[in-house]
């Protein structure tokens, strides 16, 4: 009897000790290092909106933080996902297996992001998505292991599509990139257009990526719609807008609505082609003093002004590192919980808050591309027309399909 008691007592003691060890392990930084992997398109269609510039922003954040958290050095590594879901997921799996990565930053093409977040969830690591657009990332694809920082298709549609319909553009023809992001944006735009009293009269889904848009532009011209909505991004949007200008779309009385337009796109196309274009953005380098100050530091290193994605990489990494410092841990659940508790207000995010579905909601901006006459410099490209308050910009939690949200 005593023997059994003894054994029982000692096994309880062992179990308790193990449990205690587990809790202390959680409140530590694994391997004594904070490891951040930066995954993005470094060479393809989406290179210039995130790419090497995003990696530089990440480095800036780590440098500004002092290079270490509570004495634990911060290590950065990066890889090119080549816009391939397979390449992205395999890279992250390798980072988990061989480098014990703590946080994955960057992430651009939505299809890659969705694949990567599955790997992160299986291995209980954290991902902070800055580049992707699909609102489904924190809706049906939400998980406790990732956060979506900069923008998504919901506010893009809410801002731009709503504003265009208000101006009288009530019949739309959609040019949609034929993959997850394009479909998500097309869906969000259709909803907003219809809710605002407009109608989507037609559309075409083009392969991703596409160089030659002449055929699709001709179809859009033939549709008779007042507005041609571009549910694509990066080089595809640039090509579509250029082609539309060659075919005299605007002169013939149709309007273009670029639903996801980045600063580098406008810069590449020039103001002559893009002037007057309405767009929604999560951040603009010249929007106020704080933003300008950061952007100028970035400019000194990259000789380009940062896009909202690059600024978002810095902002999200800072918030992450602060959470690691405060909790003394790089455990995903611990860090994410702390990040949710802290309001986010920095040079990038205003009235920012991380929701339980992983969506970081913050003020968004409706902007218009300046005319060449109004622009005072190479990067003086946008005029901010209106601020869309954080709580109105994003999909309300009451409509969420995310299983982390109690509805």
């Amino acid at each position: 009897m005593t023997f059994i008691k003894k054994t029982l007592a000692s096994s309880i003691a062992i179990a308790a000790a193990t449990a205690l060890a587990a809790t202390t392990a959680q409140a530590e930084i694994s391997d004594g290092e904070v490891r951040i992997g930066y995954l993005a398109d470094m060479s393809g269609t989406y290179r210039d909106l995130a790419g090497p510039g995003g990696l530089e922003a990440l480095r800036m954040a780590v440098e500004d933080f002092g290079g270490s958290v509570n004495g634990a050095p911060i290590e950065i590594f990066s890889a090119d996902d080549r816009n391939s879901a397979d390449v992205g997921a395999n890279t992250v799996r390798e980072w988990v297996d061989t480098r014990n990565v703590d946080m994955v930053a960057g992430m651009v093409a939505s299809s890659v992001t969705i694949a990567v977040t599955n790997v992160l969830k299986e291995n209980d690591k954290l991902g902070i998505v800055s580049g992707s657009a699909a609102s489904s990332i924190t809706n049906e694809h939400c998980s406790p292991n990732h956060i979506h920082w900069v923008y998504d298709t919901y506010p893009l549609a809410n801002g731009t599509a709503w504003a265009v319909v208000q101006q009288g553009g009530d019949t739309w023809f959609m040019l949609t990139a034929d993959y997850a992001f394009g479909h998500a944006l097309e869906g969000d735009v259709t909803r907003v257009v219809e809710e605002s009293g407009g109608e989507v009269v037609g559309g075409v889904r083009h392969p991703f990526p596409t160089d030659d848009f002449s055929s699709y532009i001709l179809q859009a011209q033939g549709s008779g719609a007042k507005v041609i909505g571009l549910a694509n991004a990066g080089a595809d949007t640039v090509n579509a807008i250029n082609t539309a200008s060659q075919f005299g779309v605007v002169e013939a009385g149709q309007q273009l609505a670029g639903l996801l337009v980045f600063l580098n796109d406008v810069h590449a196309m020039g103001l002559e082609t893009t002037q007057g274009l309405l767009l929604t953005t999560g951040w603009y380098w010249d929007m106020d003093e704080e933003a300008r100050a950061w952007a100028e530091r970035y400019y000194e290193r990259m000789e380009r002004m940062p896009t909202m994605v690059q600024a978002g990489v810095y902002s999200s990494t800072m918030h992450y590192l602060q959470a690691v410092e405060a909790t003394g841990s790089d455990d995903t659940a611990t860090v994410r919980k702390y990040m949710m508790e802290q309001p986010i207000n920095d040079f990038f995010a205003r009235n920012g808050r991380l929701r339980e579905d992983g969506r970081m909601v913050h003020d968004m901006y409706l902007a218009q591309v300046k005319s060449p006459a109004d622009s005072t410099g190479e990067w003086d490209l946008y005029e901010i027309l209106a601020t869309i308050p954080a709580e109105e910009a994003y999909r309300p939690l009451s409509e969420s399909q995310c299983n982390l949200v109690q509805n």
Binding site: R205, D211, V238, Q246, A268
Partner: protein, 295 residues
Amino acid sequence: MMMIFGVPLAVFMGQLMLGLINGAFYALLSLGLAVIFGLLKIVNFAHGAMYMLGAFATLLGMRYLGINYWAALLLAPLVVGLFGMVIERLMLRRIGHLDHLYGLLLTFGLALIFEGTLVNFFGVSGARYPTPEALQGGFQTGFMFLPVYRAWVLLAALVVCLGTWFIIERTRLGAYLRAGTENPALMQSFGVNVPLLITLTYGFGVALAAFAGVLAAPLYPVSPTMGSNLLIVVFAVVVIGGMGSILGAILTGLGMGLIEGLTKVYYPEAANTVIFLVMILVLMLRPAGLFGKEA
């Protein structure tokens, strides 16, 4: 309004026109490939890069040297052609006696190097090249708004294609060329400098790609990846036409442009793949290609 399979006639005709214009690009590029393969037996995977270099030469020439479009139309193919000749002389010649695969790998590697280097300097967003003043605007045809520049591309490409075909198939120089590749030793004994002929031919094929690059500069963003996107399609065109057939390359190029254009109307999702479907069909039914001689 008259309809063709549910599409208004005007839209249909417009798409045919655009298909023909794209086809003109395919024809120019596949022609260069066919000349190089037909006469030199080199599978030139650097062809897309040469097209891209032609566009970049045009852009940078304007930016830094003030060379206008019309001068670039001559100078860019010349400069890129000379560059091609240097590559032929220094590298391709050394592996001429080996299997075709080595030439393919070498030119593919070169293409990656050119592309990567330019991505490093210029990014991938691409830069705009303005449409030359004389070719701006467009005219309202019965069925579509046709930009003047696109009509010019079609015309210029057709003239150059037919000119090339004429030189190779109908002139004495062309006869030398064909004989020199058929039996170099015999030609050499007649006093013809065959190695020089080969270098010139490679340079010429490359110059054709660069010429297409100049034509493309005002149409598409000039970016380092513009060539690799096109190259695979152009190879498919060459395979369909029959490797090495000059006329085959031209006609197939135009034809594939048309087929692709129609696919964009009826089933746009397949626009990027339809040419490869045709390629598979042709390889199954006529392995030597539509215009190739059965081996």
